[in-house]
Symmetry: C2
Subunit: 115 residues, 2 copies
DNA sequence: CATTATACCTTTCAGTTCGAGGTATCAGGG
DNA sequence: CCCTGATACCTCGAACTGAAAGGTATAATG
Protein backbone atom coordinates (compact mmCIF):
# COMPACT_ATOMS: atom_id res chain seq x y z
CA UNK A 1 0.00 0.00 0.00
CA UNK A 2 1.18 3.53 -0.38
CA UNK A 3 3.47 2.88 -3.33
CA UNK A 4 1.17 3.67 -6.19
CA UNK A 5 2.77 5.01 -9.31
CA UNK A 6 6.37 6.18 -9.04
CA UNK A 7 6.35 7.40 -12.61
CA UNK A 8 9.29 5.69 -14.23
CA UNK A 9 11.14 8.95 -14.86
CA UNK A 10 11.25 10.37 -11.34
CA UNK A 11 13.62 10.78 -8.48
CA UNK A 12 16.25 12.61 -10.48
CA UNK A 13 16.53 15.49 -8.01
CA UNK A 14 17.07 12.96 -5.26
CA UNK A 15 19.73 11.24 -7.33
CA UNK A 16 21.57 14.47 -8.04
CA UNK A 17 21.56 15.56 -4.43
CA UNK A 18 22.85 12.21 -3.21
CA UNK A 19 25.52 12.15 -5.85
CA UNK A 20 26.80 15.62 -4.94
CA UNK A 21 26.96 14.67 -1.29
CA UNK A 22 29.06 11.66 -2.11
CA UNK A 23 32.01 13.91 -2.74
CA UNK A 24 31.82 16.34 0.15
CA UNK A 25 29.53 17.72 2.80
CA UNK A 26 27.38 20.46 1.39
CA UNK A 27 24.59 22.76 2.46
CA UNK A 28 21.31 23.33 0.69
CA UNK A 29 21.99 26.66 -0.89
CA UNK A 30 25.30 25.35 -2.15
CA UNK A 31 23.66 22.28 -3.67
CA UNK A 32 21.17 24.41 -5.56
CA UNK A 33 23.99 26.33 -7.19
CA UNK A 34 26.19 23.30 -7.74
CA UNK A 35 23.49 21.58 -9.77
CA UNK A 36 22.99 24.67 -11.87
CA UNK A 37 26.69 25.09 -12.47
CA UNK A 38 27.72 21.48 -12.99
CA UNK A 39 25.00 20.96 -15.55
CA UNK A 40 25.79 24.18 -17.34
CA UNK A 41 22.37 25.64 -16.60
CA UNK A 42 20.68 22.70 -18.27
CA UNK A 43 19.22 21.41 -15.05
CA UNK A 44 18.24 24.10 -12.61
CA UNK A 45 16.46 22.92 -9.51
CA UNK A 46 15.07 25.64 -7.30
CA UNK A 47 15.24 25.75 -3.53
CA UNK A 48 11.64 24.64 -3.47
CA UNK A 49 12.82 21.33 -4.86
CA UNK A 50 16.13 20.86 -3.10
CA UNK A 51 15.14 21.65 0.46
CA UNK A 52 12.22 19.23 0.57
CA UNK A 53 14.43 16.55 -0.94
CA UNK A 54 17.04 17.13 1.75
CA UNK A 55 14.44 16.91 4.48
CA UNK A 56 13.02 13.70 3.08
CA UNK A 57 16.46 12.19 2.76
CA UNK A 58 17.28 13.07 6.32
CA UNK A 59 14.00 11.65 7.55
CA UNK A 60 14.76 8.40 5.77
CA UNK A 61 18.22 8.28 7.25
CA UNK A 62 20.09 8.65 3.98
CA UNK A 63 21.85 11.79 5.12
CA UNK A 64 22.68 13.48 8.42
CA UNK A 65 22.78 17.17 9.17
CA UNK A 66 24.96 19.43 11.28
CA UNK A 67 24.44 23.13 11.71
CA UNK A 68 27.58 25.14 11.52
CA UNK A 69 28.32 28.83 11.44
CA UNK A 70 30.87 29.94 8.91
CA UNK A 71 31.82 33.60 8.62
CA UNK A 72 28.73 34.75 10.44
CA UNK A 73 26.62 32.56 8.10
CA UNK A 74 24.59 29.79 9.61
CA UNK A 75 24.55 26.74 7.38
CA UNK A 76 23.23 23.23 7.64
CA UNK A 77 25.74 20.81 6.25
CA UNK A 78 24.55 17.44 5.07
CA UNK A 79 26.61 14.26 4.93
CA UNK A 80 25.88 10.96 3.25
CA UNK A 81 25.24 8.02 5.56
CA UNK A 82 25.81 4.36 4.63
CA UNK A 83 22.11 4.10 3.96
CA UNK A 84 22.46 7.05 1.62
CA UNK A 85 25.27 5.36 -0.22
CA UNK A 86 23.16 2.33 -1.01
CA UNK A 87 20.25 4.52 -1.96
CA UNK A 88 22.57 6.31 -4.33
CA UNK A 89 23.70 3.04 -5.86
CA UNK A 90 20.12 1.95 -6.25
CA UNK A 91 19.03 5.17 -7.95
CA UNK A 92 22.07 5.24 -10.18
CA UNK A 93 21.36 1.76 -11.44
CA UNK A 94 17.74 2.59 -12.02
CA UNK A 95 18.75 5.67 -13.94
CA UNK A 96 21.09 3.60 -16.11
CA UNK A 97 18.50 1.00 -16.87
CA UNK A 98 15.88 3.53 -17.82
CA UNK A 99 18.03 5.78 -19.94
CA UNK A 100 19.49 2.69 -21.56
CA UNK A 101 16.03 1.41 -22.37
CA UNK A 102 14.97 4.73 -23.85
CA UNK A 103 18.18 4.92 -25.82
CA UNK A 104 17.43 1.48 -27.19
CA UNK A 105 14.23 2.80 -28.68
CA UNK A 106 15.83 6.01 -29.89
CA UNK A 107 18.56 4.16 -31.73
CA UNK A 108 16.22 1.34 -32.53
CA UNK A 109 16.49 1.49 -36.33
CA UNK A 110 18.31 -1.82 -36.08
CA UNK A 111 15.04 -3.78 -36.02
CA UNK A 112 16.48 -5.83 -33.20
CA UNK A 113 15.76 -9.50 -33.50
CA UNK A 114 18.79 -9.86 -31.28
CA UNK A 115 18.66 -12.48 -28.56
CA UNK B 1 0.45 32.39 -19.37
CA UNK B 2 -0.15 28.71 -19.46
CA UNK B 3 3.44 27.44 -19.33
CA UNK B 4 3.86 26.73 -15.68
CA UNK B 5 6.23 23.95 -14.73
CA UNK B 6 7.05 21.37 -17.37
CA UNK B 7 9.21 19.41 -14.98
CA UNK B 8 12.51 19.00 -16.75
CA UNK B 9 12.19 15.21 -16.88
CA UNK B 10 8.93 14.88 -18.78
CA UNK B 11 7.66 14.10 -22.20
CA UNK B 12 9.44 10.79 -22.52
CA UNK B 13 6.30 8.92 -23.54
CA UNK B 14 5.78 11.46 -26.29
CA UNK B 15 9.35 11.03 -27.40
CA UNK B 16 9.07 7.25 -27.54
CA UNK B 17 5.84 7.31 -29.50
CA UNK B 18 7.21 9.76 -32.04
CA UNK B 19 10.38 7.79 -32.42
CA UNK B 20 8.52 4.54 -33.07
CA UNK B 21 6.38 6.23 -35.68
CA UNK B 22 9.44 7.47 -37.47
CA UNK B 23 10.07 3.98 -38.74
CA UNK B 24 6.63 2.85 -39.78
CA UNK B 25 2.97 3.56 -39.39
CA UNK B 26 1.67 1.97 -36.24
CA UNK B 27 -1.53 1.75 -34.25
CA UNK B 28 -1.97 2.40 -30.57
CA UNK B 29 -2.20 -1.10 -29.30
CA UNK B 30 0.87 -1.98 -31.30
CA UNK B 31 2.83 0.94 -29.88
CA UNK B 32 2.05 -0.10 -26.34
CA UNK B 33 3.53 -3.52 -26.96
CA UNK B 34 6.45 -2.25 -29.00
CA UNK B 35 7.61 -0.03 -26.15
CA UNK B 36 7.39 -2.88 -23.71
CA UNK B 37 9.28 -5.22 -25.99
CA UNK B 38 11.94 -2.89 -27.32
CA UNK B 39 12.89 -1.79 -23.81
CA UNK B 40 12.95 -5.32 -22.51
CA UNK B 41 10.13 -4.64 -20.07
CA UNK B 42 12.09 -1.81 -18.48
CA UNK B 43 9.67 0.81 -19.70
CA UNK B 44 6.08 -0.27 -19.83
CA UNK B 45 3.58 2.41 -20.72
CA UNK B 46 -0.05 1.42 -20.42
CA UNK B 47 -2.80 2.26 -22.84
CA UNK B 48 -3.89 4.96 -20.45
CA UNK B 49 -0.66 6.75 -21.25
CA UNK B 50 -0.24 5.99 -24.93
CA UNK B 51 -3.71 6.79 -26.22
CA UNK B 52 -3.88 10.24 -24.69
CA UNK B 53 -0.41 10.97 -26.05
CA UNK B 54 -1.53 9.93 -29.52
CA UNK B 55 -4.59 12.12 -29.34
CA UNK B 56 -2.57 15.10 -28.19
CA UNK B 57 -0.02 14.57 -30.94
CA UNK B 58 -2.74 14.38 -33.54
CA UNK B 59 -4.40 17.50 -32.19
CA UNK B 60 -1.11 19.34 -32.47
CA UNK B 61 -0.60 18.12 -36.01
CA UNK B 62 2.47 16.03 -35.29
CA UNK B 63 0.82 12.87 -36.54
CA UNK B 64 -2.09 11.96 -38.78
CA UNK B 65 -4.46 9.08 -38.41
CA UNK B 66 -6.18 6.73 -40.79
CA UNK B 67 -8.62 4.04 -39.79
CA UNK B 68 -8.08 0.79 -41.55
CA UNK B 69 -9.61 -2.64 -41.15
CA UNK B 70 -7.17 -5.50 -41.23
CA UNK B 71 -8.43 -9.04 -40.90
CA UNK B 72 -11.71 -7.97 -39.40
CA UNK B 73 -9.81 -5.77 -36.94
CA UNK B 74 -10.38 -2.07 -37.01
CA UNK B 75 -7.22 -0.16 -36.32
CA UNK B 76 -6.20 3.46 -36.34
CA UNK B 77 -2.84 3.83 -37.94
CA UNK B 78 -0.78 6.87 -37.14
CA UNK B 79 1.85 8.42 -39.37
CA UNK B 80 4.42 11.07 -38.61
CA UNK B 81 3.89 14.44 -40.28
CA UNK B 82 6.68 16.92 -41.04
CA UNK B 83 5.67 18.77 -37.92
CA UNK B 84 6.06 15.53 -36.01
CA UNK B 85 9.52 15.04 -37.40
CA UNK B 86 10.70 18.38 -36.09
CA UNK B 87 9.00 17.76 -32.80
CA UNK B 88 10.88 14.48 -32.62
CA UNK B 89 14.16 16.22 -33.34
CA UNK B 90 13.41 18.78 -30.70
CA UNK B 91 12.57 16.22 -28.03
CA UNK B 92 15.51 14.04 -28.92
CA UNK B 93 17.89 16.94 -28.49
CA UNK B 94 16.28 17.90 -25.22
CA UNK B 95 16.61 14.33 -24.03
CA UNK B 96 20.29 14.30 -24.95
CA UNK B 97 21.00 17.56 -23.23
CA UNK B 98 19.26 16.53 -20.05
CA UNK B 99 20.68 13.05 -19.76
CA UNK B 100 24.06 14.47 -20.63
CA UNK B 101 23.77 17.06 -17.90
CA UNK B 102 22.73 14.49 -15.35
CA UNK B 103 25.53 12.22 -16.46
CA UNK B 104 27.93 15.08 -15.94
CA UNK B 105 26.94 15.24 -12.31
CA UNK B 106 26.95 11.49 -11.91
CA UNK B 107 30.45 11.15 -13.26
CA UNK B 108 31.46 14.43 -11.77
CA UNK B 109 34.23 13.09 -9.54
CA UNK B 110 36.58 14.95 -11.86
CA UNK B 111 36.18 18.19 -9.82
CA UNK B 112 35.73 19.98 -13.08
CA UNK B 113 37.51 23.27 -13.18
CA UNK B 114 37.55 22.67 -16.87
CA UNK B 115 36.90 25.66 -19.08
C1' DC C 1 -21.33 -20.29 -25.51
C1' DA C 2 -17.71 -18.33 -22.66
C1' DT C 3 -13.24 -16.83 -22.38
C1' DT C 4 -9.20 -14.70 -24.28
C1' DA C 5 -6.88 -11.50 -27.24
C1' DT C 6 -7.27 -7.59 -29.98
C1' DA C 7 -8.32 -2.70 -30.19
C1' DC C 8 -10.14 1.39 -28.89
C1' DC C 9 -11.24 4.90 -25.19
C1' DT C 10 -11.86 7.87 -20.64
C1' DT C 11 -11.81 9.09 -15.93
C1' DT C 12 -9.87 9.23 -11.49
C1' DC C 13 -5.95 9.35 -8.36
C1' DA C 14 -1.53 10.30 -6.54
C1' DG C 15 3.10 11.80 -6.71
C1' DT C 16 6.61 15.23 -8.18
C1' DT C 17 8.15 19.28 -9.23
C1' DC C 18 7.72 24.15 -9.77
C1' DG C 19 7.07 28.81 -8.41
C1' DA C 20 6.27 32.23 -5.39
C1' DG C 21 6.56 33.92 -1.14
C1' DG C 22 8.30 34.42 3.61
C1' DT C 23 12.13 35.17 7.35
C1' DA C 24 16.76 36.58 8.82
C1' DT C 25 21.62 38.00 8.57
C1' DC C 26 25.66 40.20 6.50
C1' DA C 27 28.14 43.38 3.34
C1' DG C 28 28.43 47.36 0.57
C1' DG C 29 26.94 51.82 -1.64
C1' DG C 30 24.92 56.13 -1.36
C1' DC D 1 22.54 55.33 8.62
C1' DC D 2 19.48 53.11 5.45
C1' DC D 3 18.57 50.31 1.62
C1' DT D 4 19.63 46.91 -1.48
C1' DG D 5 21.41 42.56 -2.80
C1' DA D 6 23.46 38.29 -1.72
C1' DT D 7 23.46 34.48 1.41
C1' DA D 8 20.76 30.93 3.72
C1' DC D 9 16.98 28.79 5.41
C1' DC D 10 11.98 27.40 4.90
C1' DT D 11 6.82 26.17 3.31
C1' DC D 12 2.67 26.22 0.75
C1' DG D 13 -0.30 25.89 -3.30
C1' DA D 14 -0.83 24.93 -8.14
C1' DA D 15 -0.12 22.13 -12.03
C1' DC D 16 1.22 18.60 -14.77
C1' DT D 17 2.25 13.86 -15.61
C1' DG D 18 1.74 9.29 -15.76
C1' DA D 19 -0.47 4.97 -13.55
C1' DA D 20 -4.34 2.09 -12.81
C1' DA D 21 -8.57 0.69 -13.49
C1' DG D 22 -12.53 0.40 -15.80
C1' DG D 23 -15.57 0.51 -19.97
C1' DT D 24 -17.00 -0.94 -24.97
C1' DA D 25 -16.76 -3.94 -28.96
C1' DT D 26 -15.27 -7.62 -32.15
C1' DA D 27 -12.80 -11.87 -33.53
C1' DA D 28 -10.98 -16.23 -32.49
C1' DT D 29 -10.58 -20.28 -29.68
C1' DG D 30 -11.88 -23.99 -26.75
Amino acid sequence: MASTNPSFMNGVPELLVLRLLRGRKMYGYEIVQAIREETGEVVSLGEGVVYPVLHALERSGAITSARRTVGGRSRIYYALSPKGVSRLTELTELWSRITGAVQQVLVGGGRAGLV
